[in-house]
């Protein structure tokens, strides 16, 4: 019953035509399903209470219609309310009390079952927030399999994932509405969130705690794959960056690894080994540029490398002012980083 209601709910709200790419109606993980069930329960109870209040008010107006013409006052001294009204007051209080108790208990058990669903994690990820991008690290007991990437999460479907959250600067909040509720990333504190994805697909998450000028452009893509696809992806990401194959990409490689880029960015297998900016080893395999600011495309790469400050004002990456030839080479090289 509640499941059906869960399915109907977005329809009711007229939101059915969207993909729920970034939506609490996404229902793509156990956590969000539980949210939707609980939300439906609350919505039903609240609508019932609202109808009761409005009904009481409307009946009150209908009942006393026309009485206003007689401009009589009922003073405090001799007015006595109908005894039924006092009974109704007590009944109303009891109704609110029972309703709230029921909702509080439902909330408590949902919270419990979320915690239970999340135990027995199989995959551990450390997500570190920075102004305004996400540093992602896949942890493994085998050190050679530890993987560092940025601004994109790949999760295997049906596998409980524990994401450890930290921040390098201010407070951020990790929120992928289609999968689960949010969890803050607080400097000096460690928190975590567990997610059990239910279906494959591509989802979008976004920082949900105001974190400075470019708070609006701090998104990340979450790609939920089948388990074999996920393992394939992981293995691919562990590879060092592709070597340049032609003179243009070679020129780009030279510039990126020996010029200013490498001071901040890391590209696996090259001299570029900065740690304060997103890892670029497999940049071209990602779906977006600059933490979800732009979709990945050749044109957007040109735009971004040439003048990041105009596309994401305030971003820590400076506008360097590349010569057209350099720009062409750098973008050509970045495009090979599949």
């Amino acid at each position: 019953m509640t499941r059906r209601a869960t399915a109907i709910l977005p329809l009711l709200l007229g939101a059915c035509s969207y993909q729920h790419y970034q939506s609490a109606f996404g229902n793509a993980a156990v956590e969000d399903s539980q949210f939707l069930i609980l939300f439906t329960i609350f919505l039903v109870v609240c609508v019932v209470m609202y109808v009761l209040v409005m009904g009481f008010m409307l009946l009150g107006f209908l009942r006393s219609r026309g009485a206003a013409e007689a401009n009589v006052v009922e003073t405090g001294r001799h007015h006595h309310s109908h005894p039924l009204m006092r009974t109704a007051l007590i009944g109303w209080t009891a109704l609110i009390g029972v309703g709230l108790a029921a909702l509080a208990i439902a909330s408590f058990f949902t919270d419990r079952s979320m915690a239970k669903a999340a135990t027995g994690e199989k995959l551990s990820i450390t997500l570190t927030a920075n102004q305004w991008w996400w540093d992602v690290q896949y942890n493994s007991s085998d050190a050679s399999k530890t993987l560092r990437t940025a601004n994109e999460l790949h999760l295997p479907v049906g596998v409980p994932v524990r994401i450890t959250l930290a921040s390098n600067d201010v407070i951020h909040s990790f929120w992928v509405p289609s999968l689960a509720g949010k969890q803050d990333l607080i400097p000096g504190r460690e928190s975590d969130i567990t997610i059990v994805p239910k279906r494959t697909g591509i989802f979008r998450g976004q920082c949900a705690e105001f974190c400075g000028a470019q708070h609006a452009h701090m998104a990340l893509v979450v790609n939920v794959d089948s388990y074999p696809d996920f393992i394939k992806w992981w293995d691919h990401q562990l590879q060092p960056a592709a070597a340049p194959t032609n003179p243009v990409t070679l020129a780009g490689y030279e510039y990126v690894t020996t010029g200013p880029c490498g001071a901040c960015h890391n590209i696996g297998g090259t001299p570029a080994s900065g740690t304060v900016a997103p890892d670029l080893t497999h940049l071209a395999s990602r779906r977006s540029i600059a933490a979800g600011t732009l979709p990945m495309s050749e044109g957007n790469l040109y735009g971004w490398v040439e003048d990041p400050q105009s596309l994401k004002p305030g971003v820590k990456m400076p506008t360097i002012g590349l010569e057209p030839g350099q720009l062409h080479a750098v973008v050509a090289y970045l495009e090979t980083l599949k």
């Binding site: 949210f35 609202y50 400097p187 976004q206």
Partner: protein
């Protein structure tokens, strides 16, 4: 009072002749005391009015205007200033909605947008919502309680000037492009020295300091006025519900403001002298800010909402022609809301990862607030049910309030549940929720009560037809703006983003919200225009145009500077409905000097006659001195040291004892 001093003279080892001299002086003072003019059977009517007017009127001219301690003038200024800030905050909202009308818009840009929402939130919370409630209360409470002045009228003037200077500083900073850009709750470490260099965050923190001093002063004034200045016979049980609401609110301000004073003080200290209260790298704690801020911030919401429930009680009583059902229940609901408000700040922090067991407690506490609120709503509806409702404009706002606020209350129950809040927190769903609570719950009753008390303050009625049109525009505009926000939040739109990508389904709800904002703005303009035109052209109101029951309607509209010729005596909850003809009065207050009657706290039995201070420039000068220190301390910690000098001079002059000679009855000049 003079007798006490005489005892002190007796106790001193004095020579016989000295004692005789003192006794002679006492006798002479007693004689003089008998000659002092007081109101009574011999002195009434026009002659009394002329004498009282002479005693109570402030000096003419600009100096007198600045020096006034009349609660009506101060209240009016508070209200008009707050409305000015309301309009400014509203313009910020319009600009934000323009930016958000379309996805990927670049109309305003990130930096400016972040300033806009910070200014909007800070202005609406600190410079509009709280001060306007205090302003209305400062104006109306003494009239409603049947007295001539607030307690501590100079402190009242000081409070207004502090508030004004704080607001001017914030908006001056905006004009100079050093407006804060860290949000109205300025979370650390974003607002700390490392991530907000420059002076923007300091401006915000000092604005808080100004308004908290102003609010504390106003709270002290209101608490003492309500507890000690009520008309004889107005026991606590008979006190009007608005006065009850303001009493609870004033006590809440006194308990909550120190918390924000502490946390903003520590922020300033972090920024100015390099302490590390919030710096995690040096073993400070970023979350400390959130605990302290929300310990104030949550009660703040009720500080805004409870006066509005007082307004609703007042309007429901008048327009349903009967006392509010369950007077005692409403009072208990107000008090319990006030207490519960301090036990649920953590529900703003569910996403921070505090222990889960603790969360359950705050969920239960947050939900339980809806019990007293539900009780109040029941009592108003029962009053409507049993009464004879008349649909004049204020009553329309009451209906609009119930229709709107209940939605906000119910979404409040939703966000009290941890699993729901984790999705809804910091999204447009929450933006919708708190605007339903604050606009539906506080601004609707406020617009209603403006229409209701407008004739008392100005002597003229607001136009009824225009009033109804602006009500419907407000109502439609509000729901068109804020209802779609529930959906945009669920569809994944976090708050405080200056733009959002196309394709998430956010285009339609955002466009609707923007359209609604313009209707809402048109409605506010119409309301203000109606007020301005009615000020000159409105129908003359007379003392009691609505046929209401409480004491503010027992005097002329607008009230004379001394409020009442004689202090009324109250014998029931609804004095003007219960007494045929003239109200009973007490007499015997001085008419040659400003004097009010103090009564006992619970039973309101006549207790003392209290002299009222004359108009004085020192509250203004004191506020200027403190203001200069606050503003200067943005730039240098030494301001706090050197600032002691002007503050010391101003306050010493303010409290300087003026008369050392013995007086038949002491007077504060």
């Amino acid at each position: 009072m003079t007798d006490v001093r005489a005892d002190a003279f007796d106790a001193a080892p004095a020579r016989q002749s000295e004692r005789e001299r003192v006794e002679a002086e006492n006798r002479q003072l007693a004689e003089e005391r008998k000659k002092i003019a007081r109101d009574g059977p011999k002195l009434k009517g026009e002659k009394l009015a002329a004498r009282l007017d002479l005693a109570w009127r402030r000096p003419r001219g600009i100096i007198g205007w600045l020096a006034t301690v009349d609660h009506k003038e101060i209240g009016r200024r508070y209200i008009i200033t707050a409305l000015g800030f309301f309009v400014l905050g509203g313009i910020m909202a319009l600009l934000m909605r323009l930016q958000l009308a379309q996805p990927d818009s670049n109309l305003i840009g990130a930096e400016r947008y972040n300033q806009l929402f910070t200014m909007h939130g800070s202005t609406m919370m600190f410079l509009f919502a709280v001060p306007v409630m205090e302003g209305v209360a400062v104006y109306i409470i003494p009239l409603m309680l049947g007295t001539r002045s607030t307690a501590f009228p100079r402190l009242n003037a000081f409070s207004y000037y502090m508030y004004l200077f704080g607001g001017l500083m914030l908006w001056g900073a905006f004009v100079l492009n050093i407006a804060p850009d860290v949000g109205w709750f300025a979370y650390t470490p974003l607002s700390g020295p490392q991530f907000s260099p420059g002076k923007r965050a300091d401006v915000w923190a000092q604005m808080i300091t100004f308004t908290e001093v102003a609010a504390l002063a106003a709270a002290v004034v209101l608490t003492s006025t309500i507890l000690k200045c009520r008309a004889p016979g107005m026991t606590l049980a008979r006190m009007p519900l608005f006065a009850w609401a303001m009493l609870v609110v004033a006590v809440m301000i006194i308990f909550s403001m120190p918390s924000v004073a502490l946390c903003s003080g520590m922020l300033i200290s972090d920024r100015l002298v390099g302490t590390n209260f919030y710096n995690a790298a040096e073993h400070g704690d970023a979350l400390l800010w959130q605990h302290l801020f929300w310990f104030f911030g949550h009660p703040e919401v009720y500080i805004i909402f409870l006066p509005a429930t007082g307004f609703v009680s007042v309007m429901v009583e008048t327009f349903c022609r009967r006392p509010v059902f369950g007077h005692a229940v409403v009072v208990l609901a107000l008090i319990s809301t006030g207490i519960l408000a301090f036990g649920l700040w953590v529900h703003h922090m569910f996403a921070t990862g505090l222990p889960r067991v603790g969360y359950s407690f705050y969920t239960a506490a947050s939900m339980s607030v809806s019990i007293p609120t539900g009780l109040q709503i029941f009592c108003w509806l029962a009053t409507i049910w049993d009464g004879r409702p008349r649909f004049q404009v204020p009553m329309l706002y009451v209906v609009g309030f119930i229709v709107t606020f209940v939605i906000g209350g119910l979404t409040g129950v939703m966000v009290a549940a941890v699993p729901l809040d984790l999705q809804l927190h910091d999204t447009y769903f929450v933006v919708a929720h708190f605007h339903y609570v604050l606009i539906g719950g506080a601004v609707f009753p406020l617009l209603g009560i403006f229409t209701y008390w407008f004739p008392k303050i100005t002597g003229r009625m607001m136009n009824d037809t225009v009033g109804k049109v602006s009500f419907w525009l407000v109502f439609v505009g509000f729901h068109l703006t804020f209802f779609p926000m529930h959906l945009s939040g669920l569809l994944g739109m976090p708050r405080r983003v200056y733009t959002y990508p196309a394709g998430l389904g956010l285009e339609v709800p955002n466009l609707l919200s923007t359209l609604g904002t313009f209707i809402l703005a048109a409605a506010v303009v119409l309301f203000v225009v109606n007020g301005l035109i009615s000020l000159y052209r409105g129908v003359i109101a007379g003392p009691n145009p609505w046929g209401a029951a409480s004491l503010e309607w027992a005097t002329s509209s607008p009230p004379p500077v001394y409020n009442f010729e004689h202090i009324p005596v109250v014998e029931s909850d609804t004095p003007l409905w219960d007494v045929e003809g003239e109200l009973p009065v007490v007499t015997g207050l001085r008419v040659d000097e400003k004097e009010i009657l103090l009564t006992t706290v619970v039973a309101a039995a006549p207790d003392l006659r209290e002299p009222v201070p004359a108009a004085s420039l020192w509250p203004l000068i004191g506020a200027m001195a403190v203001g200069i220190v606050f503003v200067a301390s943005i730039f240098s910690p030494w301001a706090l040291v050197f600032g002691l000098v002007p503050c010391g001079i101003a306050f010493a002059a303010w409290f300087w004892p003026k008369e050392l000679k013995r007086n038949p009855e002491p007077v504060i000049s």
